[in-house]
């Protein structure tokens, strides 16, 4: 219940914050313009691309165990090591052991939501290991002591002025710095870390069963993170698999078109393993941690399995009018917006997170934009039904709807109840909670049915 009351509190604060709303609306309007432009510039038939992507992902899900084993076999043959983590605790344990054995003191990280999911920064902090976020957006939220606001654009909620003030305080740059000057300040702050770090941690946008990890980015920091330090640790969800390199022709532009409105990102790295004999670059060791953490539980539920098609492009967040209103921090989850509200109750517990599935008007804008055709708003509905089934103890809504169903199966009962409601309307309003009182309309003096019986409309 704590997660729910926290959400309600934070959401109400943000809902009333018009400056926040204007900032997000501005960022998302720019984004939408780019995305829509790129869809028509880059695709003859966007709908068909979505459909093909969904089918490819369905194939992956049907063969998931097999493809994961292929991945393990093939990338191991390339010299990388594969570890499996059933949950966040096991993944953290792997990382703790890897870094202790190698006496790692300093880590540089690229942007990765799976590392947020298992709270790597908190873990390493506890181990006394210095962690530096190398993605500009992630660096901004790290310096601000915040969590990512958005799965693709973690600092979406900060204007240039906000960032200048933050960098002024933390990095000592002039408060009047331009966007270019701020980027250069971040670059100076980061560059030396790549060569002094003992390990680099990245996520992966895709895993190829033929034995490679794929990362897309715009700053080049990810490539430095995975290639400069002696150890490269990858943390990736098990659903990230694609069969082969050729699938990237569809999936890379699909991801960037939906995610940022780009034709393709500036840097796209396909890494087949650590430095091989005779090669001069790359880490000496590469360790891939395959993270389950609730995914196979979703995999086992036929109605919900297809949510694992998600490629984390963030389009559903941007399309969502609730996300635009409450912002990314109100959710209190790693994955915000519609996809987060669909998967978090499965990954972290229906009882604690089902309120997120209810916090949607079911407008369907998310489903409309999803590049892999996840039926997001209908999955929210299914979550609600599942939450009702699983609920234990007395629930006022349950009692209310049982009474409602009794009334709504008879016109006579309905008219009886409405007579009571009309008569007691004034006193009813006094006892109702404020929100309900304000939003509950006055019943008309007579129902349509009654007026019709009296001859109206004929």
């Amino acid at each position: 219940m704590k997660t729910k009351s926290e959400f309600l509190r934070k959401a109400a604060v943000k809902a009333g914050d018009k400056i926040h709303r204007a900032k997000i609306l501005k960022a998302i309007t720019t984004y939408t313009g780019k995305v829509e432009g790129m869809k028509s510039a880059q695709y003859h038939d966007w709908q068909q691309a979505r459909s093909l992507a969904a089918q490819t992902k369905n194939y992956v899900l049907r063969h998931l165990p097999d493809l994961l084993e292929q991945f393990e076999r093939n990338i191991t043959a390339n010299g990388a090591q594969v570890l499996w983590a059933e949950d966040a605790a096991e993944a953290r344990e792997h990382i703790r052991r890897i870094f202790r054995e190698r006496k790692v003191r300093k880590v540089v990280k690229s942007k990765s939501m799976t590392t947020e999911e298992i709270e790597v920064n908190e873990l390493l902090g506890g181990e006394g290991i210095e962690v530096l976020e190398s993605d500009l957006g992630e660096l901004i939220v790290q310096l601000a002591g915040e969590k990512p606001y958005h799965i693709v654009t973690p600092a979406m909620h900060k204007s240039r002025q906000d960032i200048a003030a933050l960098f002024h305080e933390k990095l000592g740059v002039p408060a009047s710095s331009s966007a270019e000057e701020l980027t250069m300040a971040a670059r100076d702050h980061l560059r030396s870390a790549y060569v002094t770090a003992d390990a680099g941690i990245t996520g992966a946008n895709f895993l190829l069963a033929e034995g490679a990890i794929v990362m897309t980015e715009n700053e080049g920091n990810g490539r430095l993170t995975m290639s400069c330090p002696p150890v490269h640790v990858v943390i990736a969800g098990i659903e990230k698999i694609l069969p082969a390199m050729e699938n990237l022709a569809l999936f890379l532009p699909l991801l960037t078109t939906s995610g940022t409105g780009q034709q393709i990102t500036c840097y796209n790295s396909v890494v087949r393993g650590p430095r091989a004999a005779g090669e001069q670059d790359g880490p000496q060791e590469m360790i891939v941690i395959l993270l389950d953490n609730g995914r196979s539980a979703m995999y086992g539920e036929p109605e919900f399995q297809h949510a694992l098609r998600c490629i984390r492009c963030g389009a559903c967040l941007n399309a969502c009018p609730v996300y635009r209103t409450v912002g990314g921090h109100a959710y209190g989850t790693t994955y915000q917006g519609p996809i987060g509200s669909v998967i978090t109750p499965h990954m972290r517990g229906m009882a604690e997170f089902s309120h997120l599935s209810s916090a949607s008007s079911l407008c369907g804008a998310c489903t409309q934009v999803c590049p892999v055709q996840i039926d997001l708003h209908h999955l929210l509905l299914k979550n609600r039904a599942k939450a009702t089934e699983e609920k234990r103890g007395v629930d006022l809504w349950q009692v209310g709807f049982a009474g409602w169903a009794r009334v709504m199966t008879s016109r006579k009962r309905l008219e009886g109840v409405r007579r009571l409601a009309v008569a007691g309307e004034a006193s009813l309003r006094v006892i109702l909670p404020h929100a309900l009182r304000k939003r509950l309309p006055l019943p008309a003096k007579k129902s349509f049915a009654r007026l019709w019986q009296e001859g109206a409309g004929r």
Binding site: L8, A11, A12, A15, G16, R21, L25, P321, V322, R324, T325, V326, S357, S358, A359, S360, S361, L362, C363, G364, A365, T367, Q368, L381, N383, R384, A385, K386, A387, T388, W397, Q398, F401, A402, W404, A405, V407, M408, T409, S410, R411, L414, R418, A435, L436, K438, R439, P441, L442, P443, A444, K446, S447, F448, A449, L451, W452, Q453, A456, G457
Partner: protein, 247 residues
């Protein structure tokens, strides 16, 4: 296509209980266009409030009542995209074959006007700056996009002031607007601002839920903007128009 049977009115609970005038506007418009209608007064609700809140059992109970009431009717017309979507898109999953049979019989008001080829017969006048708020369920569940605009364009004196871009949710969402009233209110504020920025004086919509929610927001903000149901808009536009009555 339209049969010899009178068209059966499917009046959403919100219209039955709160806005009966919207229902009678639809009846008058249909009469003027030459449609014979019938009303089955045992009808109550389609079950959507419970269904959307995750209470499937109660939704099923009410949906069965709905089917029992309407089982003999070939065509139903409903002044709500959302309630139409409940029957058409969700009854099959909820009730199987009985649900599938009912699903094919229900049409949203504007959809019905297009289906019965009545749009060309609409004649009226409503000199005002108008924007249309397509309900999310009408747009995304039923795929209704152009038809309501074509209907509005039939009316003389209308100056369309439509906000650019995709239809955006007003924040109603049934029980959502009660459980999460602060979010729902802010969403209405955002949507209303889009209409104001587009210069609209009157917002026409096809869902009583959206209309209730937007009217509430207008009251809260002290705005004089009118929010009308498409049926009310047409009823008013056609009222004194000879062309409308000759059909």
């Amino acid at each position: 296509m339209p049969s010899d049977q009178p068209l059966s009115l499917f009046i959403p609970c919100l219209i039955d209980q709160v806005y009966p005038e919207m229902g009678f506007s639809m009846v008058r418009v249909l009469h003027r266009l030459g449609c014979e209608v019938r009303y089955r007064d045992e009808q109550t609700c389609c079950g959507q409030p419970a269904f959307n809140a995750g209470h499937q059992r109660e939704a099923k109970t009410v949906a069965r009542h709905f089917i029992a009431v309407f089982q003999d009717d070939e065509e139903l017309v409903c002044p709500s995209g959302s309630c139409t979507a409940m029957v058409r898109n969700f009854y099959p999953g909820l009730l199987g074959d009985a649900g599938r049979k009912q699903a094919g019989a229900v049409f949203e008001f504007s959809e019905y006007l297009a289906r019965a080829d009545l749009i060309g017969k609409i004649k009226g006048s409503f000199p005002a700056k108008i924007a249309f708020h397509n309900s999310c369920h009408s747009y995304r569940e039923l795929g209704i996009a152009e038809v309501p605009m074509q209907i509005i364009a039939q009316i003389d004196g209308v100056e369309l002031c439509q906000p650019a871009g995709e239809p955006v949710c007003c924040g109603f969402g049934g029980v959502f607007s009660v459980k999460f009233s602060a979010i729902a209110g802010a969403m209405a504020d955002t949507r209303l601002q889009m209409f104001l920025d587009a210069g609209a004086e009157v917002v026409v919509s096809n869902d009583p839920g959206c209309i209730m929610h937007l009217r509430q927001e207008c009251t809260d903000r002290g705005l004089s903007m009118r929010i009308l149901h498409l049926a009310e808009f047409l009823d008013e536009a056609m009222a004194d128009h000879a062309g409308g009555r000759q059909v």
